[in-house]
Structures are given as structure tokens and as C-alpha cells.
């Protein structure tokens, strides 16, 4: 039984293709079920997030034919021409597939290094597949171990600590000033790409009240609707300053959108309650002199970018430690799998030798007929003992020595074992 994976992610495929091959949780289960129904795989889990769609499966042999079958199936499921996937799909087998999943769960393969969301997605996907009976001993072990890897990496390293983008760095600062944002209010001035990201971040962080203002009111209305906020007329935005605790600006233009004087007046009107100004505009939208005002915290893109860089360096320095944890668990899994495989190989070998002994004695039944039933019984007994004796030492070495276990697969070729547990002898001849 071999693990393999086939998939694409943010490194190999553009967002348009990723979107086309995305599986909703229900679709993922349906695709997995049909893959198993076709008999291509024994166990299967389809992991699909905004950055990846991957099929983890177990087959008798991860031969190319099976992988091609899974790929064809994926294309049919999403009605995508196979030629479109050229160079976008990756395939991993055995140890490489195991390592890939562990890296995914650890956040090492994420677009934002160390992000925590992926671990929850792996857990949900696995539990859903398990509930549907799509997993077996191999994928159960693999996915449970991947969850452990994810947890260990997050608790033993700082890889996932404070993963930041510019807007999320700004929100983190806001939380460091105000605590939970549910009792606070914010206004986003400018509904462009950066303003939209900031508005979504504010909503994600549970901001109490959110306004969006833009020179073009339609865009403000649209973004406000998307983020559950209220739109405000651009001309009225100055009035809002007296009410809100957080101001995000991302506006095109050469003049200050917010001058020191306007902010001083706003601070006076709001009784000097703390105000956090986030200037995401390039060139800047807020007069830097506003930072001198009492209880005003002003951060620009450069300040936030510095924080993001510092954060990224800190997390990158944790990558070797995270990778060591991944490799430790990959070794554990392959040891477990080769142990399980060796036990199964040994059982098949024992069956094979007994079967051959039966065939051998059946072919010589006339010669054996010269003996009395008791003598025949003793001869057959001795032959069975010989089989056990011959297998004892190799079995012990298989159990003890990992390298021997890894090479045990050659026994299958040597003795023509095909993974099908042929029924062994029902009992000794003559019984």
C-alpha cells in the first residue's frame, strides 16, 4: 500500500486555474467517493483551500496508471481540459507525499508562511473524509500525524506567531492600543484595493462600527455592503473623525487628506480619546505632524512594512526548526509504514511457502501413500516446522532492522507476491 498525492497550489497555478479546480467540502467528498468507487484507490482525502487542491490517496501500488486515472477524474469532475493542467499539477509518492502533507499542515507550504488557518482546514477535511469512511489505516495515521506536526510546529516554534501582512500588522497595532475592537469604530477613507483589504481586516477582527468613504460614492457603497459597514459621503468624512477610534486612509492625491489642524480639531471634539491613524496611501495622505498630537498614534506604510519585514525574518529563522519536526514525523511514519508492510509481506510469504508445500506434497501423494497416516502426519508436521524455522530469523531481522524492513519489498518480487492475500492452506494434508 503506497501513499501518493496529486495536486496544484499557489506556486504552480494561477488563481484562475485554482478557482476552477477548487472543491467545496461537499464536492471534495463526492469526488473522493467516486474515485474510490472506480476502484482507483483504497483510501482518499481531497484537500481544497483557496491556495491548493490536492488529492491524497492510497493505492496498492502508486503506479503512473493510477495517478493518470486520478488526474483524468479531476479534469472530468471540473470539466477542465487536461492540457490546461500541463506543468501545474505536481505528483508526490511515498515519503515525498508524506513530507508534503506535513509541510502543508505546518504552514511551511502556505503563501503566508506559518499561517494557522490551514491546520484547521486539514483537520476539517480529514474528519469529514473519515466520517464518510473514505479513510483507512494509512490515511488515518497520516492525517492524524499531520495534525500533530501542525500543533508541534506552532507550539514549539514561533513560525506561526504574528504572521503579518501590511493591513494585518495595522490591525494588530489597533488591538494593542484598544484591545478587542468590538467596542470601537473605524472609518476607511478610500475604497481601492488597500482600503478594501483594511476594511475586511477590520470586519474580521470584529470592529464595532465601520464606515467607508470614497470620492466615488458607488465604490464606497459597494465596499460597505461587502464588509457589513455603512458608507459615508466623502464631504462628511471630516465629521466622522470626531466619532471613530481608527482611521485608515488609502487615497490617491498629492495633498494631505487629513491635515494636522483637522486632526487636532477632531481630537478636541472627541475629548482626546486615543485615535489610531493608519496611512496606507502612497504618497502619504496624513500630515506626519499629526503624530505630535496627544493620544494620536500614526503609522504609515513604511512603518508597517518594517514590521512585516521584521516579522517575516523572525518567522523565517524558525523554518529549520519546523522542518526538523516535519522530518522527524516523516521518519516515524515511514518506519510505521515499512513495519506494517513488512508484517504483511511476511504473512504473505508464509502463506506462499505453505501453499507451495501443499502443492509439493499433493504432487507426491503416491510416494507419501507408502507411509502410515501417523508417519505422513509427522512428515508434514516437520515440513511445516521447517518453513517456520526458515522464516524465524528473517522475521526477527525485519522487526529489528529498519533498513532490512525498507528492502523487504524485494521479497515480493522475488517470491512473486502480489499483495493479494491468497487463502493459505486450510490445514495440513492428511488432516
Amino acid at each position: 500500500m503506497s501513499v501518493f498525492l496529486l495536486g496544484l497550489n499557489h506556486r504552480t497555478a494561477a488563481v484562475a486555474l485554482r478557482e476552477r479546480l477548487h472543491f467545496s467540502p461537499q464536492e471534495g467528498l463526492r469526488a473522493a467517493e467516486s474515485l474510490r468507487r472506480e476502484g482507483l484507490v483504497q483510501e482518499v482525502v481531497v484537500l481544497s483551500t483557496c491556495n491548493r487542491s490536492e488529492v491524497y490517496a492510497v493505492a496498492e501500488e502508486a503506479v503512473e496508471v493510477v495517478e493518470n486515472g486520478v488526474e483524468r477524474h479531476l479534469c472530468e469532475f471540473h470539466a477542465v481540459d487536461a492540457a490546461q493542467l500541463n506543468g501545474c499539477l505536481y505528483r508526490r509518492r511515498g515519503r515525498d507525499a508524506v513530507e508534503h502533507l506535513y509541510r502543508v499542515a505546518a504552514g511551511l507550504d502556505s503563501m503566508l508562511l506559518g499561517e494557522a488557518e490551514i491546520l484547521g482546514q486539514v483537520r476539517e477535511t480529514y474528519l469529514a473524509a473519515q466520517r464518510e469512511g473514505l479513510t483507512g489505516p494509512v490515511l488515518n495515521r497520516l492525517f492524524q500525524a499531520s495534525l500533530e506536526v501542525g500543533k508541534r510546529v506552532r507550539s514549539e516554534t514561533r513560525l506561526g506567531a504574528q504572521a503579518m501582512s501590511v493591513p494585518s500588522a495595522a490591525m494588530k497595532l489597533a488591538e494593542q492600543i484598544f484591545g478587542e475592537l468590538k467596542d470601537n469604530s473605524a472609518v476607511v477613507l478610500g475604497a481601492g484595493a488597500m482600503g478594501a483589504k483594511a476594511a475586511r481586516q477590520l470586519r474580521t477582527r470584529g470592529i464595532g462600527r465601520l464606515w467607508v468613504a470614497n470620492r466615488t460614492p458607488e465604490r464606497a457603497r459597494e465596499l460597505a455592503a461587502q464588509t457589513g459597514g455603512q458608507w459615508a459621503a466623502w464631504e462628511k468624512s471630516a465629521e466622522l473623525l470626531a466619532q471613530v477610534d481608527i482611521v485608515v486612509t488609502s487615497v490617491a492625491g498629492d495633498d494631505w487628506t487629513l491635515s494636522r489642524e483637522a486632526l487636532a480639531a477632531a481630537m478636541h471634539a472627541r475629548g482626546n480619546r486615543r485615535m489610531f491613524l493608519i496611512d496606507l496611501g502612497v504618497p502619504r495622505n496624513i500630515d506626519p505632524a499629526a503624530a505630535e498630537l496627544y493620544n494620536v498614534f500614526l503609522y504609515g506604510v513604511d512603518d508597517l512594512q518594517d514590521m512585516v519585514q521584521e516579522n517575516r525574518h523572525a518567522r523565517e529563522s524558525e523554518v529549520p526548526r519546523a522542518e526538523a519536526i516535519v522530518l522527524e514525523h516523516v521518519d516515524k511514519f515511514t518506519a510505521w509504514q515499512s513495519g506494517a508492510s513488512a508484517v504483511s509481506t511476511l504473512a504473505e510469504l508464509r502463506n506462499e511457502l505453505r501453499l507451495r508445500r501443499e502443492l509439493f506434497t499433493d504432487a507426491r501423494s503416491e510416494e507419501l501413500g507408502r507411509f502410515s497416516p501417523e508417519e505422513r502426519e509427522r512428515i508434514l508436521h516437520m515440513m511445516d516446522d521447517l518453513v517456520e524455522h526458515l522464516l524465524r530469523e528473517p522475521a526477527e531481522r525485519l522487526m529489528k532492522d529498519r533498513e532490512v524492513r525498507e528492502r523487504a519489498v524485494f521479497l515480493r518480487d522475488l517470491f512473486g507476491l502480489h499483495g493479494t492475500n491468497r487463502p493459505g492452506p486450510a490445514g495440513r494434508s492428511g488432516k
Partner: protein, 263 residues
Amino acid sequence: MTAALYTASLAFYLHKLFGGGAWPGRAATALLAGGLVTHYMALLERAITLHSVPYQDFYGSMSLLAWFLALTYLGLELLHRERAMGAFVLPLVLLLLGLELVVVPQAAPKPPAHGSIFALHVTSNILAYSAFTLSFVYSVVYLVQDRLLRARRPGAVVWRLPPLDDLERMARSGVWVGLAGLLLGIGFGMMVDQQLHGQLLSLDSKVVVSFLILACYAVYLWSARSPAWRGARASVVCIASYFAVVFSYTVVNLYLSKFHRFF
């Protein structure tokens, strides 16, 4: 035993502060609670021997203050669900315990008064001092964080501290507890005074400084809500007010007061 529990608690608070995670914080709180229990037993034993609240000598006074500091901190930690400050408060508790340990306990002088009202007078006041100490610590941390954030240099430290709003609230809570303790202490003190001297209020220097402390912290509470002063300026007022507490607990106790010599 108590020192070991407090030290272990500090170790977990530090682990929580620098490493994060929920379990070190819970372990720290549990160890602190354990330390408070053993510390209380030790204080109780000494109180039974003295037939009074053990405050009269340096040993007893420091020990009582350390216990109240730890207790008040635990109360505020539970109230605000914020464990980051344990790493800043426990060193003070251990310092007070350390001071207590370097001084060999002596036979404490005979207390001038006995009884439950007197005991309440002493404990209310020490509770107030410990609460003011906490407010001082919170205000110092507030000021440092405020400076770092306004200078746009949060570095790695700021993320480990409670948000500014929370620190401000915790400092205010500490002050409210302190004021309540001090008012109660003064009230019980007046009752004791009535019993001992037949008058409600002796104008001892300790009493005068206590009213000064009340006034300082009243100014702080006003400034914390005043538009012009809220935030960092109010924290400076809180820190300055604490010097009046230290003055009261040291200089006044040692040299100025007739009736309030704690050690």
C-alpha cells in the same frame, strides 16, 4: 514553601509572557493561589502567636504586604482576565519576601491595640498599599508601551503586553481598590482612636499623609477621565501619587508618626 511556589509561579508567568500559550498562564495562576494559601497559613500562625495582625516588625510587615500584593494581583487578574502582568508583579512579591527573609524574625513589640476593628484597620490599609503598588506597576508599563507605540518602534516587546486600554482600566481598578481600602482603614482607625483616646481623629502625621494620598489618587481618577489628561499624563499622575504611598510607608512610619510605627 511559599517562596518556592511564588518562584515557580513567576517562572510560568515569564513562560507565558515570552512563549505564549494558555497552560503556562493557568499553571502560574494555580501556583500563585497555592503560594497565597501557604503564605496565609504562615501569617496566621504568627498572628496566633502575637494575638494580633503581624505588622509590628519589619518581618511581619513585609510579609503581610507581599501577601496582600499577591492577593490583590490575583483578584485583578481574575477580574480583567489578563495574565501578562504576573511577570511584573511577582518579582515585587518575591522582593518583599526576600527582604523578609534577610531579617531574622524578632519577638515583635507589643501592639498598642487589639481586637477585630484594629485588625481590620491594619489589613485595610495594607490592602490599599498593595493595590496602589499594582496601579504603579500598571502605569509604568502603560507609559513604556505608549512611548514605544507612539515612536513607531513596537519591537518584539509590545506584543507581549496587555493593550493600552486594558492597562489603563487595570490601573484604575487598582486605584479604586486602594481608595476603598484606605477609606475603610481610616474609618476603622477612627474607631480604634475613639476607643483608645476618646477622640475620633488624632492629627498624627500618618493620618495627614493618608489624606494626602487620598487627594493624590482622587486627582488621578479625575485626570484619567479628563480630555486633556487621559492616557499617558494620567499615568504619570498615578506614578507620582505612588511616591506619597512609599513616603507614608517608609519615612512616616520610621520617623514621623507617633502611633503608626509598623516596623
